[in-house]
């Protein structure tokens, strides 16, 4: 009798964990289809809450899929005209004051973007989560009145900036509302809070993201998308190194 109970319990556990694993993958796919698009143009305001002052940086970004993106910084004056180009796994930055185009690679990728809580590495790693992580549903939680699934993601490839992640996914709109990024050691590295989810061109899209680098001083970086347009016609020359100097 005892043995029978154990067998039933084991079978139920295996079945539910398998289902949860499958659900997690499906959830992730739905999230990806919600937030990704063929191309998009968006304008953003990044408010960096530093230890001493707050700085606001505005930028316009063009992106095609997850391989190409071009960002031009519009303000403040010191950053105006600075441009960044990402092609596949390469990243260049152009500084108008020095008229130099520098490729960002190696340890420089770990450096902060404009002093924010985002690193260049964060910007570079645009691979689909389902390609990089295996996910399981760890539970449910209510965040700001919204039901969420808690997904635990563990890297299945080695070249990944964060070994594991924890995501809180809105059960209705399939957008993440919170995320925690961890190192292999289990150390929490970054925390992200997503809000102001809006329906744009038939998809739910968070327009406010607060990034907090746990290892960095300051009160985090607020990233606001002020306008976003999906599936626009973007000329090919935008994604060339020549466009950086224009």
């Amino acid at each position: 009798m005892i043995m029978k109970n154990i067998l039933i319990l084991t079978a139920v556990t295996l079945l539910t964990s398998g289902l949860a694993g499958q659900n997690a993958e499906e959830i992730l796919k739905k999230v990806e289809s919600n937030v990704s698009s063929d191309n998009r143009i968006f304008e953003s305001t990044m408010i960096i809450h530093g230890t001493r002052t707050n700085r606001t940086i505005t930028a316009k970004t063009y992106s095609v899929g997850d391989k190409q993106s071009f960002t031009e910084y519009l303000s403040p004056a010191r950053e105006q005209g600075t441009k960044m180009l990402k092609l596949e796994n390469q990243l260049w930055i152009y500084s108008p004051s020095s008229d130099r185009t520098i490729q960002i690679s190696g340890h420089m990728l770990k450096q902060s973007v404009m002093g924010s809580d985002l690193s260049y590495e964060d910007m570079m790693d645009d691979r689909k989560l389902t390609e990089v992580y295996s996910a399981t549903v760890a539970g449910e939680e209510v965040i700001d009145g919204r039901n969420t699934w808690i997904l635990e993601l563990t890297a299945k490839v080695s070249d990944v900036a964060y070994y594991s992640r924890k995501m809180w996914i809105d059960t209705e709109r399939y957008v993440p509302l919170r995320e925690e990024l961890y190192a292999r050691s289990g150390q929490l590295l970054k925390r992200t809070t997503l809000s102001e989810v809006k329906m744009i061109d038939g998809r739910w899209f968070p327009t406010k993201i607060i990034y907090k680098d746990i290892l960095k001083q300051g009160d985090g970086t607020e990233f606001n998308i002020t306008s976003v347009k999906f599936n626009q016609s973007i000329p090919d020359y935008i994604f060339t190194k020549a466009a950086l100097k224009q």
Binding site: I48, T51, T53, E79, S97, R100, M108, S112, M114, G115
Partner: protein, 424 residues
């Protein structure tokens, strides 16, 4: 009686010349050795002071807590007014704002693409103000290998080794890539005006030296500085005085734990320098003590031998009826005179040779290759007030003690046997 003894010593060269020469050599070596050890230990301290630590350093509390990381986001602001206040509060101290920074130096090709690149550690300091003491402090003129010192805004120096690694020459454009005070990426062009060899392996590997105003522009640090270094009057580090000054400054904000509150640290209160300063003090004392002790033994023996050598003379004087006490006293008086004369001559020579080493130094660059610590390649002696009297310890006291010990034998001589001894 002193005049009589003095005449005796001058006329009888065997009683004065050799003992004085021996005492002089011993004292000279003692003085020279002490000045050399003080100089050697002090040189390492002064090198660190000039390049990075200062005798005193003012920085924000947050910066001081993470000094190894050079956190320029926690730099001092309104530096000109803070320097003015420091000048008023500590009139004897020279204050110099500095910015230490790290990043990459990128050398472009003719198309502006990266040709070579290497990690660099930089120092931003006042190079362009006429009469700035910083050029002398870092010994830049003598360290120049090629080109010239920065004379205009935008000009920088690279270490010779680094310039060769990057394959750049004076007149070439180089780009600094790093982080601004606010964490943005800093990309800033400089013109290489010259190359230097600092004589410190750790510095020569990848150093860039720029005027502080250029660094401020590059790192978005308007009127800011990572640190303000203070140099004590006389140019030598004195720990007690430095610590006193820091207490005076820090007592103004005792309860303020804000990260941006300026705090002052003495050289010995910065990182591992505390261990080094106390080690330098104790090592200097130990080495000097051991040497003084060894010299004392030598001179004591010289005194002892001098006394024994005069065995026959003492016998005759006793036979002639001179009192044992009198003989003993006169021998001690003579040894005092020899000690004073030998110590004075030895001190003069010791100070002279120490001065030569202080002025011209001893080049040890050959044995410093591959070293990663900031050590001078030219070792210099340093004459301190102690050197003017230190030699008298072995020179005077040991000689006198030696004579006193050997003289005890006088009291053991039996007058009845004196003639037999003298006949033999």
């Amino acid at each position: 009686m002193i005049k009589f003894l003095l005449k005796g010593l001058i006329r009888d060269k065997s009683r004065s010349r050799l003992p004085i020469i021996v005492v002089s050599i011993g004292v000279m070596l003692t003085v020279l050795m002490h000045a050399y050890i003080t100089g050697f230990m002090g040189d390492i301290i002064e090198t660190n002071a000039r390049f990075s630590h200062g005798h005193l350093k003012v920085m924000t509390r947050g910066y001081a807590d993470n000094m190894q990381q050079i956190p320029n986001d926690l730099a001092l602001v309104n530096v000109s007014s803070l320097t003015g206040e420091l000048n008023q509060q500590f009139p004897g101290v020279e204050w110099s704002p500095r910015i230490q920074f790290g990043g990459l130096i990128d050398a472009p090709d003719e198309n502006g693409e990266t040709r070579s690149q290497g990690p660099a550690m930089g120092i931003g300091l006042d190079l362009l103000t006429p009469g700035s003491p910083e050029i002398n402090r870092l010994n830049l003129e003598k360290s120049l290998v090629r080109g010239h010192l920065p004379a205009n805004q935008g000009e920088v120096l690279l270490s010779e080794v680094f310039s060769k690694k990057l394959n750049v020459n004076p007149g070439d454009r180089i780009t600094f890539i790093g982080s601004t005070m606010y964490g943005s990426m800093a990309i800033y062009n400089f013109i290489l005006s010259g190359t230097v060899s600092m004589g410190h392996e750790a510095l020569d590997r990848g150093t860039i030296i720029a005027d502080i105003e250029d660094v401020r522009l590059a790192l978005d640090m308007d009127n800011a500085a990572g640190e303000i270094l203070g140099f004590l009057e006389g140019g030598f580090y004195l720990d007690e005085i430095a610590v006193e000054e820091t207490e005076k400054f820090n007592s103004a904000n005792p309860g303020n734990t804000d990260d941006f509150t300026p705090v002052m640290n003495s050289l010995s209160q910065q990182g591992t320098m505390n261990t080094y300063v106390s080690m330098a003090k104790s090592w200097s004392a130990y080495i000097s003590l051991i040497f003084i002790f060894a010299m004392s033994l030598v001179l004591w023996n010289a005194g002892l031998l001098g006394g024994l050598r005069r065995y026959g003379e003492v016998g005759i004087r006793l036979a002639m009826g001179e009192e044992k006490d009198h003989i003993y006293r006169t021998m001690i008086y003579e040894s005092v005179m020899i000690g004073i004369a030998g110590s004075a001559i030895g001190t003069i020579f010791g100070l002279f040779f120490a001065w030569l080493i202080q002025r011209y130094g001893i080049d040890i660059s050959g044995i410093m290759k591959g070293s990663s610590i900031m050590m001078p390649t030219v070792i210099r002696a340093r004459i301190s007030p102690v050197d003017f009297y230190l030699g008298f310890i072995p020179g005077l006291f040991s000689t006198v003690i030696g004579t006193m010990l050997s003289g005890i034998g006088i009291y053991k001589r039996q007058t009845a046997r004196l003639f037999k001894e003298l006949e033999a």
